[in-house]
Symmetry: C2
Subunit: 182 residues, 2 copies
Amino acid sequence: MLQPWKLIKEEVEFQNKYVRIDKRRYELPNGEQADYFIRDGIGNVASVLAVSKEKKFILAQEFRPGPNMIMDELPGGLIDEGEEPLQAAERELYEETGYKGKLIFLGETYVSAYSRVKKFCFLALDCEQVKHEVQEKEEEYEFIEVVLKEKADFLLQVQKGELTDLETALLGLNYLEKSDLL
Amino acid sequence: MLQPWKLIKEEVEFQNKYVRIDKRRYELPNGEQADYFIRDGIGNVASVLAVSKEKKFILAQEFRPGPNMIMDELPGGLIDEGEEPLQAAERELYEETGYKGKLIFLGETYVSAYSRVKKFCFLALDCEQVKHEVQEKEEEYEFIEVVLKEKADFLLQVQKGELTDLETALLGLNYLEKSDLL
């Protein structure tokens, strides 16, 4: 039977406004000590697979610095302090695409073995465009273009893994399929 | 039509043996410049949903420093330099569990919008235990316990999101279901 490791010490190794690395020293089951580096400790995240009333997938086309390319992403982002995951998902969907819908919680998971960040996954059904211009707050949103995708095109994208929230997409598609919603 | 951002400068902001943060300065579409921090730049990763000849899911029970708890994880890890993703998946499956099987490539994806790391997802079918003791190389592997799970138990785990490779699990389960393999 495995035992959890004993945390001996934890300190911030690197921190700026966007990234933080904590160094955790553990006592391992063999009595030795080892350091592990926990990254991305800024906050939990929410992501949404959003489907319009017309059964199209609502994606936020944006440049992504990690992959270093333009991607059709699921709406989502950091959960603000004091905010519930569901609220964050609704807010991000609205801010990034101008759409609102009925949100369903799909599940939560861990983004990495070396991060404490949790990702909360949602499906948004019957979405309607509330705002016609995402660019209202120009300084923040002018770099996103809303893309509406047919099911076949979105499935192709998912098959290629060309998004950074694949698990949310898969959970949402499974839900839609099992509920005969698409 | 969105344009990719122009990379002005890239430098290593923090680096040790396990973690690296690169600072990338981009020229944004509005002409302004901004810094983005790309983390986890050590290498790509592979993960495997492994199923035994007896139709049980083969999991590596291990302590995970990020979530800070013991988890039943999919076998997987860093792809070594010069190694193909498939080889890495086979090697990790063997090293972590002592099993070998027939590997099927399920897909690849990005782990985060702020990381260049790609995750390669595999399914391993008809797995058989080659090694009966994972602990052969004691210093490396004594902290993993192999767990064989029935389908219902694994589905429950997936539903709870209690693993750090949820997308691989979902891709694999979809494949198994569509192929009537489980």
